[in-house]
């Protein structure tokens, strides 16, 4: 089987249709959340896409958090049956949008989403919503937020995958970006940033656990200090892997 680029945190898919009985209700439930803030779902979705997020996952994450709100307001954890979303508290909409967009892979939302997650995690009602948007269970939310503050590539289950986080690039003929396998990679000064060379072209990778962005550069970027995360280039492969050493 030909492996395509992707984030291992999304394998298996974090939000499935069986969670809500019908995938098409994701968009409706997500729209209900945004309507509470006077926002238009098409416009917000387009901006999430422009920021690098996957729109289907954005809808699914937002819908999951909206249903978690519905579950909470219906009488407590576990009392909901995954039914239709209740209208969330209006001032929480921005929190949900930030977390859902980041979860969908929009790397530019990382800082804002993490700041909101720290606040949500301290609130009993908010933490259920946040966990739902991240497709985590409530018990794992605190560890996730704490680990993310120091390690942008951490997610539960990374240890089971021996430290591999994501693959990027791919063969251009199959929808990827490289004609030849990448041959060289160096870390850059910014967190989560790497430079990768394929043939005589340098590319800049900016990534974290949920999202990544690959940009063609005109010249080799200046290298930075090495960290725990590095790029692994398997021989004869068009994929470049982000790997974090030290996971048991």
């Amino acid at each position: 089987m030909i492996r395509l680029p992707g984030h291992l945190v999304n394998s298996p898919p974090p939000f499935t249709a069986s969670d809500n009985g019908a995938a098409t209700t994701d968009v409706a439930d997500a729209a209900a959340v945004l309507t509470a803030a006077g926002a238009d779902i098409d416009a917000v979705t387009a901006r999430v896409a422009a920021a690098g997020g996957d729109t289907a996952m954005f809808h699914a994450a937002l819908a999951a958090s909206a249903r978690a709100v519905g579950t909470v307001t219906a009488g407590g954890a576990g009392s909901g049956s995954g039914g239709s979303a209740r209208e969330p508290v209006a001032d929480r909409v921005a929190d949900l949008v930030a977390v859902a967009a980041w979860r969908s892979g929009a790397v530019p939302l990382r800082d804002d989403a993490l700041a909101r997650l720290r606040r949500l995690a301290a609130d009993p009602a908010g933490r259920q919503v946040a966990a739902a948007a991240l497709a985590l269970d409530d018990a794992g939310l605190d560890e996730f937020v704490a680990r993310q503050s120091a390690d942008r590539f951490w997610f539960p289950g990374r240890a089971a995958l021996r430290g591999y986080v994501l693959s990027t690039g791919g063969f251009r003929g199959l929808g990827g970006v490289w004609i030849r396998p990448p041959e060289e990679a160096v870390p850059l000064a910014e967190a989560g940033a790497f430079a990768i060379r394929s043939d005589d072209q340098w590319w800049r990778l900016d990534c974290d656990v949920f999202g990544s962005r690959l940009r063609l550069q005109t010249a080799r970027p200046d290298a930075g200090p090495s960290g725990s995360a590095r790029i692994i280039l398997p021989p004869a492969s068009h994929l470049a892997w982000v790997y974090v050493a030290g996971d048991a």
Binding site: A39, V93, V97, P108, D112, G192
Partner: protein
């Protein structure tokens, strides 16, 4: 199910040197300001181009080639055909030319047989400008022999017609399409001559008039683009296209035929009943402010001196014809044409030049100032689109045939078009124009004009100004001008470049002698 249309290139279409993605907040997502990675406007235009060629219009042609001299050419068959594989990113003219017209706010003529996507491309441009697909299609003006001026622009309100005591009291119900940012005229060569004149006023002046009422059609500070379609660009049709309107077309592009290897995609579209203009991603739609910013950015692209000199040299070839008149300044093709005589015969009668090497002998007209201005603007647009910091010779070479098509006309009696495979160039005017520009470049190199340009030196000396110039120095310069004229005189053969030089030298002579008279009177 994913939307197979809604996939804009997420990796940039041109390399840059970027930093990390700029962090944004949920407020930015909800409020509408998303400075994500700062998608520059030229990158947005490139994304629009690639979306159109990869998703909307099945156009596997790459006839606008960029190679930097490293192209691979493969001979095909035994009829002197060859295919060129360019080394750099190259483009499909039937998409890029309309897109550049959209960017600069120009006028584009799309020609080609029926059903080749001319109107589809134009409608896509309308959707890129932010109009809904249905509105764009409703706004397309269909040329037909009974199309009157009122049909085109609007009618006077009947109540006002009855009650008005004077023309100024009549209000006109102007048609909506008049103020759209993208205006589309289908089959413009089927429009009656009188209506063509009303159209000309809109295209040329940006307003329309009816019953003494004027209505501005070009948006204030905004950018409007015009798209015309026709089945041919010979100027014929149900009604002959008036020359002034034909001359207003900034660029002319051929609609490409369908490549059968992409038949499967066509079947999918028929089965799904899909139209590309209904699936334009919102990320590549331009606001009015963005279009104005694009046009400003294009105008700001510099043209380096070396590129200017080559282009300037190309312009010199075409106006002069030795036996066009008696007075030297009247020895032009325009004088011959306006006198109703044959330019080809005047060219043929010239025994004072080598007609085989003279590019000017291959044309029956010269270049208008309007076409020169258009060429400058579109060369800048080409460079801007490619992400270049300045206009290059390659940009000029790529865009020139589309700008000059239908404006610089071939002298069909020239012996060049009788030899070997050269008659092909009478049908393929784009290749002929590209060859003219390349020939001009070779002559420029042979004459070493970059290093040896005495007339240019004299003009630059004059451009430095006359402040404080003494009478002695002025006289000295007059002598140098006269010497330069005599040097041209002894060369024997006269070409277009010499005509322009002689006229310029006469201009210098006049300016210096006027200055000398002033200096001497001031004593």
């Amino acid at each position: 199910m994913t939307d197979r249309w809604n996939r804009v290139s997420v990796t940039p279409t041109n390399p840059g040197q970027e930093g990390p993605p700029q962090q944004i907040t949920a407020t930015d997502l909800l409020s509408g300001s998303v400075p994500t990675a700062g998608v520059a406007l030229d990158e947005k235009l490139r994304q629009a181009y690639y979306w159109i060629v990869n998703r909307a219009v099945i156009s596997p042609y790459y006839d606008m080639e960029f190679s930097g001299g490293r192209a691979l050419s493969i001979a095909l068959g035994d009829a002197d055909a060859h295919v060129t594989l360019p080394a750099e990113a190259s483009f499909s003219s039937n998409v890029l030319i309309p897109l550049l017209t959209f960017a600069v706010g120009g006028k584009c003529l799309l020609v080609g047989g029926p059903g080749r996507g001319k109107t589809t491309v134009a409608v896509l441009m309308g959707v890129l400008a932010g109009d809904a697909p249905d509105d764009v299609r409703r706004g397309v003006q269909q040329g037909q022999p009974q199309l009157s001026v009122s049909d085109l622009v609007g009618i006077p309100l009947p109540a006002d017609l009855v009650a008005a005591q004077r023309l100024a009291d009549i209000r006109i119900a102007w048609r909506d399409w008049l103020t759209r940012p993208v205006k589309i005229i289908d089959e413009y060569n089927r429009i009656p001559t009188k209506t063509q004149s009303a159209l000309l006023t809109m295209v040329a002046e940006g307003y329309v008039e009816s019953h003494d009422q004027m209505h501005r059609t070009s948006p204030d500070g905004g950018v409007e683009s015009w798209y015309f379609t026709a089945n041919d660009d010979a100027g014929g049709g149900t009604f002959a296209v008036i020359q002034a309107l034909r001359d207003r077309m900034d660029v002319t592009v051929q609609a490409a035929g369908f490549n059968s290897r992409f038949f499967d995609e066509l079947i999918v579209r028929v089965e799904a009943g899909e139209k590309p203009e209904e699936h334009v991603p919102v990320e590549i739609v331009f606001t009015a402010a963005e279009r104005a910013a694009v046009r400003s950015a294009i105008r700001a692209v510099p043209i380096p001196v070396a590129v200017r000199r080559r282009l300037q040299f190309f312009f010199t070839h075409f106006e002069f014809v030795q036996h066009g008149g008696r007075r030297f300044e009247y020895r032009t093709k325009d004088v011959v044409t306006t006198a109703g005589r044959s330019v080809a015969e005047a060219i043929e009668a010239n025994s004072g030049a080598d007609l085989e090497v003279d590019p000017g002998a291959q044309t029956i007209n010269g270049l208008s100032v309007r076409s020169l201005q258009t060429l400058i603007l579109f060369a800048k647009a080409m460079a801007w689109f490619r992400g270049e910091r300045a206009v290059t010779d390659d940009d000029v070479a790529a865009i020139l045939p589309f700008v000059l098509r239908g404006k610089l006309l071939p002298n069909t009696t020239h012996s060049r078009f009788e030899v070997g495979a050269e008659p092909e160039l009478l049908a393929d005017s784009l290749s002929w124009l590209a060859d003219l520009f390349a020939t001009s470049g070779r002559i420029y190199g042979q004459l070493q004009r970059e290093k040896d340009d005495p007339t240019g030196d004299l003009l630059r000396e004059f451009d430095a100004g006359l402040d404080g110039l003494s009478a002695v120095e002025a006289s000295s310069r007059i002598t140098r001008v006269e010497s330069r004229l005599r040097a041209i005189a002894v060369a024997g053969k006269l070409y277009g470049r010499d005509f322009d030089d002689v006229v310029a030298l006469k201009y210098l002579h006049q300016r210096y002698t006027a200055y000398l008279r002033w200096v001497e009177r001031s004593r």
